[in-house]
Amino acid sequence: MKCSIRTFWSCVLLIFASGPLHLSLPEVRAEDRSAGSAASNLIPVVAPSATCALVSDEHHLLIVGRRDAQSGRLFVYRLDPDGEPGADEPAQVDLPRPDPLKSFRNYPLDLVFHPSLPLLYVWQDLDCPRPDENQQKTIDSEFDHLQIFTIKDGALKPAATFGRGREFVHGRELGRMAIDPAGTRIFLSNLRIVDNGAAAIGYYDLDEKGVPRPVLLPIEGTRDAYGLPRTEFKMRATSIRVQEARRWPMGWGFVVPSAQVIIFGAWYGPAVWDTASRRAAIGHVRVPEVHQVCFITGHPVLPVVYGVSYGGDVAFRMEHADGYLTMMPRTVRVEGAKFHSPPLVIKGNPHRLAVGGIDSVVLLPLDEQGQFSGPAETIAAANEGNPVRVLAWSSRTTRLYAFLNKHK
């Protein structure tokens, strides 16, 4: 059999015209959705300059903290059975502030419920950029960052205040708290080492009523019969330096699987604090492709930590074992996204990781192992070109709340 010239050259051209095979890794692309099951569960709430928000499924309340002209207050919305805020104006709860500091604006930064008691903990800060010496002394001696409210009949009542002293910083954009599942410790983010101003985190031990316990501290300049300093009980947070993992004392989130070992958000990835270890208290893992500080959150059931790069487009997932970060982190890049809020894991079918973006909320589907699976969804949340910085989730009504400057 003889082959013609035409057939030969046709075959050659066919082979070379097919070109090299393009092996490209699948990239998670954000799909715009104006309608759908995820979008229909999103409730936009008008709360200009919202800094924090929390839903109480038990009391049917949505509590929002704001930093604006109406600062120093919490706004409490009553939710109907579908999770919609009522038509009435929200109740407003003032955050206490000492008289010498009335000229400065205070504002809430984070809210957290006690796991078993009807208590709400509020972390507040003070807007005082360059205090003089007297003002600084007043702030250190009289301004309490930690406010505790009781919840009764849908109303918040102030119960106690704590968190004053030189070890607490003020004037921060972000601050986070967390309580361990047993309710024995509350972890705080905005601390510093008094001697050198290095960034620190700390905790208060809580008693059976949910109130911080004082700790035994030496009294300076005293000696007992054994030559040891005399001691007294004082309210002081147990803290640790985290300057190497996170330069600025601000809160980027906690995951608290137990009172002993916790995970906190740091630069380029999460970090572990083993409160019982003196030789290896901090373990910082830098996640590849994360080039900024990151917000973190935990899966409600699985031993998994999620994080997003602040202002970036990378989300990551990492396992932990008893609070110790383990195995390799897995990252995913969401094309066109800019993350600006702490992430939330919202339950559903499938579960999703929700993060606020610019005029949008990004949802990343998760599989049964908590791995990222499938393309991201972007739900429009018009916010005048501003980022959506605060999200809240109700597991009872499966509603996600996004807090906007204005709702169209």
Partner: protein, 259 residues
């Protein structure tokens, strides 16, 4: 017309007589010109018709020759740094400050070692590992006659791996000796290699063909390698396989061929 090749003497079958009416109109075509094929193909002419098919076969994934792939740390599916001073941490790569560890670089000293496992799914089945070389990027070294050890890990390890445990989920399982130090139980009896470092640090290439062959054929489970320093006062600093800059420096070059 009855033209045909030859007279009766050259036509023993007398095909002229058997030719039909259509055949009488048949005009044979000239033979194809062999000179049209490129002169580069110095092949017997009988193979020319097969050239297109051969070209197609050469481009198919099924190779008839050895192939080499290069994996880097991004192809690892398990990694950990375990240290005696941080007995429960999985990422105690490098001490930094007071009571703090990070993953910027990997600092090998006695009591601190690296566990690393490359996934071998990119090597297609039905082949044979001909050659494999692991490149370990050394940044600096200290101590008398610095060297590090490469061990094939025998015991399975997973989530929660640390100096004390090789796994903590679903239950805590300890190493036979802490730090995966058990010979013939946690790690192989003899090291894959003892790498003596030259005065000027740089990437060190280690022949790991035997280990890759054991894993690829299934003769041994792939639990990766343990890289450690066993000599006192020796410190070896490596690029971190988890960092953006360092993970491309770790290379596993595998050459495989059909069996």
């Amino acid at each position: 017309m009855g033209e045909g090749p030859g007279e009766g003497a050259k036509d023993p079958m007398n095909t002229n007589a058997m030719r039909s009416r259509d055949d009488q109109k048949y005009t044979p075509r000239p033979a194809p010109r062999e000179t049209a094929f490129p002169s580069l193909f110095f092949l017997p002419s009988s193979l020319f018709p097969l050239l297109p098919s051969l070209l197609i076969l050469l481009c198919l994934p099924v190779s008839v020759a050895a192939r080499t792939i290069v994996l880097d740390a991004r192809d690892c599916d398990r990694m950990a740094a375990i240290a005696e001073s941080a007995p429960r941490q999985s990422w105690a790569m490098q001490p930094h400050g007071h009571a703090s560890f990070n993953t910027i670089e990997m600092s090998l000293v006695p009591g601190r070692s690296l566990l690393i496992r490359f996934a071998l799914e990119k090597v297609p089945p039905g082949h044979r590992i001909a050659h494999a070389v692991l490149t370990v990027p050394v940044i600096r070294q200290q101590g008398p006659e610095p060297r590090f050890y490469m061990w094939r890990v025998l015991a399975d390890w997973g989530a929660g791996v640390c100096y004390r445990y090789r796994s903590t989920r679903p239950q805590k399982i300890e190493w036979t000796r802490p730090g995966a130090a058990g010979h013939s139980s946690d790690r192989s009896t003899r090291p894959t290699d003892i790498v003596r470092l030259p005065k000027k640090p740089g990437p060190m290439r280690i022949n790991v063909t035997e280990d890759l062959d054991l894993w690829y054929t299934g003769a041994a489970p792939n639990n990766g390698w343990l890289i450690s320093v066993e000599d006192p006062k020796v410190r070896v600093q490596l690029h971190s396989p988890l960092s953006n800059e360092g993970r491309a420096e770790w290379k596993l070059r595998i050459t495989y061929e059909p069996q």
